[in-house]
């Protein structure tokens, strides 16, 4: 499943202020899809030059995209807590 939403949350401990940003990634994919289709011939040429199997390249990139789901990165120090989640 491709990630649909990204969440960035920052909490400042000193100022007791926090914000949470929900990024609708599905809109990004909708924008990138036509670009990806247009870039496909370029990718095929690059694969031919580099002697790579284009299907394998596409499958690998698709695998990376779909496996981003459920990634969680959290950094907490004295000043702030930063949380990045991909849902």
């Amino acid at each position: 499943m491709i990630p649909m939403v990204g969440v960035i949350s920052v909490r400042h401990w000193a100022r007791s202020r926090s914000f949470k940003l929900w990024i609708p990634l599905f809109l990004l994919w909708l924008v990138l899809l036509p670009i990806a289709i247009l870039a496909l011939p370029v990718l095929l040429v690059v694969c031919l030059i580099a002697r790579l199997n284009p299907w394998e390249v596409i499958a690998t990139f698709w695998g990376i995209l779909t496996s981003l789901h459920d990634t969680h990165i959290e950094v907490d120090n004295r000043d702030a807590l930063v949380l990045i989640r991909i849902l």
Binding site: L52, T60, G63, I64, S67, D70, T71, D76, N77
Partner: protein, 153 residues
Amino acid sequence: MNEHRRQILEMLSAGKITADEAERLLAALERSGSSSTNDVSGTPRAAKMKYLRVLVDSDNGGNPHQGPVKVNIRVPMQLLRAGVRLAGLIPPQAREHVNTALREKGIPFDLSQIKPDNLEELIDHLNDLSIDVDSSNRHGYGSEKVTVKVFCE
């Protein structure tokens, strides 16, 4: 495994052990089962693992300007597997450049050796790795203790 579980239940039904003791024994049995490479169904442990967790806990040696830092990272195993496949796609010429650059940095690592099978083996053996780093703080606030824990779940 099922044999041990049955023995515990038999002891419980015979009144040789209490329900509390049986619960503790079953929990211990489950723990020992989960730490082995394969489970009851014979599924490799690596196949069941969903995430790689990296926890970093640093106290910064009492530095009043920085304070403790905690890092909590959860990376899906599928992302690691996809990354390994991506490493396999690097053209040989580029791979040689990367290997040379790594060697220059003092990391004698061959990218061509990264294979999905190696990753599964690594996950199998990565039960609970804990690294304690004790270093003197660069700001002169005493020693800095950093604990890095890497495990799969």
